[in-house]
């Protein structure tokens, strides 16, 4: 019965559990764990397993946006995920302990290169239509800059939306900006810079002081 006992709550004396995201930050997380002296070879070779026993800590892998959910509930004591995820799920109560530096991306407002439909919609219709996977980040950003928008939430390739007239612009995360440029979009405004963050469950942070602080220190050192 290897790896199926995902107990949703933890007991003292149990192994620490660290949640890490599959996807863009996965490699960075493994490099970080290597640097902190963990053996990640099993994590690198097995793509199907969800839970990995590294001795003093067990690693659970999941979608990036699920990491704060598991950590808030205490199903994982610590987690690594992008600041974009934390900003989008800002009502989840987790402790943000360290900026791990890797996975640097930018949240931007983009629109079709040379096209003025953002401005035109704002002027003539009173609001801009913005497609995004990050509804709350987009809403907060435009509210804080005094502009009205209609946010259209999409799950897949956001770049498509302005190309076919679903939206005037998009709010999305870019690493190099290549995908965006290839689709004829250009960055208009930078909203924030996002890196990988180390988060902790509130109760674990209080009750497993030495283990958590030790782990934070190791990961911090490995990241600097």
């Amino acid at each position: 019965m290897r790896g199926v006992d995902i107990a949703h709550r933890r007991g003292e004396g149990e192994q620490m559990r660290l949640a890490i995201p599959r996807g863009a930050l996965f490699e960075g997380c493994l490099d970080l764990l290597d640097g902190a002296g963990f053996d990640t070879s099993e994590l690198r070779s097995s793509s199907r397993s969800l839970i990995f026993d590294l001795g003093e800590v067990s690693i659970v892998t999941m979608r990036p946006s699920d990491v704060p959910t598991y950590v808030e509930a205490g199903a994982a004591d610590l987690g690594i995920t992008g600041k974009d995820v934390l900003d989008e799920l800002s009502d989840l109560a987790v402790y943000e302990l360290a900026d791990l530096g890797f996975g640097r991306c930018r949240m931007v407002l983009a629109a079709i290169t040379g096209d003025d439909s953002l401005e035109r919609s704002a002027r003539r219709l009173g609001f801009m239509r913005i497609a995004t996977k990050y509804r709350r980040i987009a809403e907060r950003y435009f509210e804080s800059t005094g502009r009205q928008v209609e946010v259209i939430e999409v799950k897949g390739s956001v770049e498509l939306a302005p190309l076919v007239g679903l939206a005037d612009g998009i709010v999305d995360l870019v690493a190099t900006g290549r995908t965006m440029r290839e689709n004829g979009l250009e960055e208009r405004e930078q909203i924030s810079v996002c890196t990988a963050r180390l988060i902790a469950n509130r109760v674990a942070h209080k009750l497993r002081v030495d283990e958590i602080d030790g782990m934070v220190e190791r990961l911090r050192e490995a990241s600097s």
Binding site: G11, E12, G74, D91, L97, H205
Partner: protein, 333 residues
């Protein structure tokens, strides 16, 4: 076809109700045995009266108008109504007042997993007893209550609500920046404090480091030594307050159930001095909270020092169930 009820509200059926009532009667018994008397206040109050106690706490209130156009609010906790009750109705009674309650409160939170809009609390208010003795009495009763409901692994976090307020004043941080840092500290967003520009730009690197270091200090008595080594007037004051209370807890033999925590901040504005949070290792959520509120009674015209705690009954129940599950698992293996 079913008939919906609002998210964050629940029907309770006999099996669960029996267990909730067992928790409540256990707590009722221990509170009463320590000389506390039960009080009850209305679930609906005038909005301006509750807001007089703590405006921030009322942010999450459900409000509505009655037939004559008065703005009413559902209570968001029990402490503010009981402060009002003590100020208005207990003027003749001997001090201190020892009061307990078991009741429901209401908060307009987004109803995510486990977030209740209507929730049950059981707690005490000790009004007219100063720190550190009053604080220690309340913590002692809290620990006894936790033991009685079977949560003998639960831990009480003890911090100081004034530490960062005074420290920031000492560092010359005022107004919006001050509020913002306290917000970030309550959320324990250390990255924002370490690195964020904007409102916090006035803060130097050393000062940021100092705040992060302090807010990460939690543990036994050695925490106070480590804090003192960091220095400053605000830290000295807070650590001496904590040391006095802790010394009482040591005398009472319950210090091993209490964790000193300089990073502890609660989101309610009425706390002064000692603040408390309750954790059980089997659950990821806080199962209770409290602290001193020496200025709250004064806002209702009867300045008196006070302290109290509330246990969140539904979460205590979850903790019981998890502790039992873990015990079974340990027994089986």
């Amino acid at each position: 076809m079913t008939h919906p009820i609002p998210q964050g509200a629940r029907d309770i059926l006999p099996d669960e109700m029996r267990e909730l009532r067992r928790i409540e009667s256990t707590l009722r018994e221990i509170f009463a045995s320590r000389g506390y008397g039960e009080v009850s206040t209305p679930a609906i109050e005038y909005d301006d009266v509750l807001s007089q106690g703590d405006e921030g706490a009322m942010d999450a209130a459900y409000r509505f108008f009655d037939a004559s156009g008065e703005l009413l609010a559902l209570r968001t906790d029990m402490t503010i109504p009981i402060a009002r009750l003590a100020a208005d109705r207990l003027g003749e009674a001997d001090l201190p007042h020892r009061l307990y309650y078991i009741g429901t409160a209401y908060r307009a939170v987004s109803a995510r997993r486990g977030q209740l809009r209507e929730f049950r609390q059981a707690g005490v208010e000790l009004i007219g007893a100063e720190a550190p003795d009053g604080t220690a009495e309340v913590i002692d009763l809290l620990v006894a209550g936790l033991d009685e409901v079977g949560l003998n692994r639960a831990v009480v976090g003890l911090g100081d609500a004034d530490l960062f307020r005074q420290l920031l004043a000492e560092l010359g941080v005022e107004g919006k920046a001050n509020d913002r840092i306290l917000d970030r500290l309550a959320a324990h967003d250390l990255v924002a404090i370490e690195a964020e520009a904007g409102d916090l730009a006035g803060l130097g690197d050393d000062e940021r480091q100092l705040i992060v270091q302090l807010s990460s200090l939690r543990g036994g008595a050695d925490v106070l030594e480590k804090a003192r080594a960091i220095g400053g007037v605000a830290v000295e004051r807070a650590t001496s307050r904590l040391a006095e209370t802790y010394a009482r807890l040591v005398e009472m033999g319950i210090a091993d159930r209490v964790q000193l925590d300089l990073g502890l901040l609660r989101d309610l504005g009425y706390y002064t001095g000692a603040i408390l949070e309750v954790y059980d290792p089997a659950v990821g959520q806080i199962i209770g909270g409290g602290g001193r509120y020496d200025a709250l009674l004064g806002r209702f015209g009867r300045p008196l020092p006070a302290a109290g705690f509330a246990l969140y009954i539904e979460r205590v129940h979850i903790a019981q169930a998890e502790e039992e599950r873990l015990a079974r698992k340990r027994g089986a293996s």
